[in-house]
């Protein structure tokens, strides 16, 4: 199927781009792996509207997409499983069949992945990512009915904690790796006073409900299961390395951990786009021009895939890329150009806000030392820290050699979950910075496809292998 414009991802960035294009009379196909638009941040479903941080703009985006259905060919439950630099892409639909597209302009708005830090017991059922626990709330209106511990760092920790506390969930503790933000950091965040106030409201909600917040600590082990479960919290040094003394045990049946977000670069890697590394943007991200175009002409990235920037920047970039595409397709629109100009002016304060946020809560590498020798690093293949360390001691410094020796990152998830931990362990052993490491390889198909669908996909895989 040939469409002039295809957008992958219907979160704030992708959905906004589609809507702005439609407002200028320009059509597109909009693909998303979920059943409804909104991405993770505006995920639709059953969350009570009166909880903190439930943003009405998600509903507005979905209503607007429906309003413009004559121009926006929305394809829910479509996962992109292969992509080439000439913009041909293969997506698996809800029936398991493969749909192919070859657009002139491709916008990738595939968002972010939560960063996990492996600790003993993190593979046990009942241990979630922060985002995972929040998805249960948003999509199914479900909250823990048992004492829970939330841990990690960054805004999502406080958002999820405030939401669960407001819903009456017994929170045994919130365990934050970061200290209180400094005055300089608060001043930086004040470049967007509305966002700073939002974060303070979450912290106040926890205080008001008497939730214990443990700062400069992290969960370093999860023991037992069910009602007998408890976590071990350790104080951290400045690099977030767990210290030996003053550890404490906290009972909790449900545990959720998350250490911030990293850009989802699967598709930009498949397309051969150049990437840059910046820990303050969540690690590797696609390099872009001011028009959000990657180094592969005709392929654009908006939102967190271009470096973690948050929902507000994603919304702004959706408008910016729509204006760029309107001009490229000869349908420039004065109204859209003015909107894009306003969106561009919003970027600088957001950049200052984000820099201060990252300076406060951005992941410090010492936290990966929380993994004990027997701790599983790769959940798919049961590869333990000791297996990784032994393979590295044998001189396998590259991810590929490590993968072949241990099978770490070679399971069904293709290393999506363990990549940050593996990259850190390799970089540390090799004595290099994470930015000097090669990006972890992405292979097609990016998700398992049924044998019947493989026939449709085989040209893509053959070409990639050549």
């Amino acid at each position: 199927m040939s469409e002039d414009i295809v957008i992958v991802g219907a979160g704030p960035a992708g959905a906004t781009a589609a809507i702005r294009l439609a407002e200028s009379g320009i059509g597109c196909a909009l693909l998303d792996d979920n059943a409804q638009a909104g991405g993770q941040i505006y995920r639709a479903g059953a969350a009570p509207k009166d909880l903190p941080g439930i943003d009405p703009r998600g509903m507005e985006l979905r209503a607007s997409l429906a309003h413009h259905r004559a121009l926006i060919d929305f394809r829910p439950q479509h996962e992109v499983v292969a992509l080439h630099g000439d913009r041909r892409l293969w997506a698996r639909g809800p029936d398991g069949n493969i749909a192919t597209f070859a657009p002139r302009h491709l916008v990738l708005a595939t968002g972010a992945i939560e960063v996990s830090v492996p600790v003993s017991g993190w593979t046990s059922p009942g241990v979630y990512t922060l985002g995972g626990l929040q998805i249960l709330l948003k999509a199914a209106g479900m909250v823990p009915d048992r004492p829970a511990v939330l841990g990690g760092a960054g805004p999502l920790l406080y958002l999820v904690a405030a939401q669960l506390a407001a819903a009456g969930v017994p929170l045994a503790a919130v365990i934050d790796a970061a200290p209180w933000p400094t005055l300089t950091q608060i001043a930086g965040m004040a470049r967007r006073p509305d966002l700073l106030a939002q974060g303070m409201r979450y912290a106040l909600e926890l205080k008001r409900r008497g939730v214990a917040v443990l700062r400069r600590h992290a969960v370093i082990a999860i023991d037992g299961e069910g009602g007998g479960r408890s976590v071990v919290a350790a104080p951290l040094d400045g690099d977030w390395r767990p210290r030996g003394e003053a550890r404490r045990r906290i009972a909790a049946e449900i545990v959720a951990l998350g250490f911030g977000l990293r850009p989802n670069t699967e598709l930009t890697q498949l397309a051969g786009c150049a990437h840059d590394h910046d820990p303050r943007r969540g690690g590797w991200f696609a390099r872009r021009s001011a028009d959000c175009e990657t180094t592969v002409p005709g392929i654009f990235v908006v939102g967190d895939g271009g470096g973690i920037g948050g929902a507000e920047r994603a919304l702004a970039e959706g408008t910016i890329v729509a204006d760029v595409l309107a001009r490229r397709t000869g349908k420039a629109d004065g109204g859209l150009a003015a909107q894009a100009e306003r969106a561009r002016r919003a970027l600088a304060p957001l950049e200052s806000f984000r820099a201060a946020l990252e300076s406060w809560s951005g992941l410090r590498p010492g936290i990966f030392e929380a993994a004990a020798p027997e701790t599983i690093i790769c959940r798919c293949e049961d590869v333990r820290r000791a297996d990784v360390d032994a393979a590295l001691a044998g001189g396998l410094a590259l991810p590929r050699g490590l993968k072949l020796a241990t099978r770490a990152g070679m399971g069904l998830c293709q290393g999506r979950t363990c990549a940050p931990a593996l990259q850190h362990l390799i970089a540390r052993e090799a004595g290099i910075a994470p930015s000097e490491m090669p990006l972890p390889t992405v292979r097609m198909p990016t998700r398992p496809v049924p044998a019947a669908a493989l026939a449709a996909l085989s040209p893509a895989i053959d070409e990639a292998a050549r």
Partner: protein
């Protein structure tokens, strides 16, 4: 079947329930709900076993990324229960 006390509660009114079969036994789950959520609400937190250590595993990221919530759905193996929605007559086989 071993009964486990549910560790989650619902804040919102759920959809009408339809009959599905879990490991061959009939259950009534809310139609259209994310399958992983519906199973968790039933107290089923373990969906599969890990390949080497044979440890229990269950939903973790709930966004299609981690593959720890997979089950055999209508005869197709390794399907993510967080990407599937509850349909009438669905057959779910968990490898617990």
């Amino acid at each position: 079947m071993r009964m486990v006390h549910p560790t989650f509660r619902r804040l919102a009114r759920e959809a009408a329930r339809v009959e599905v079969f879990i490991d061959g036994a009939p259950y009534a789950l809310p139609e259209g709900e994310m399958l992983a959520a519906a199973l968790l609400a039933q107290g089923m937190i373990t969906m599969m076993r890990s390949p080497k250590a044979d440890e229990p595993r269950g939903p973790h990221c709930l966004m299609g990324s981690c593959f720890q919530c997979t089950a055999t759905i209508d005869g197709v193996a390794h399907q993510r229960t967080c990407r599937a929605t509850v349909r009438s007559g669905m057959r779910i086989d968990l490898a617990r």
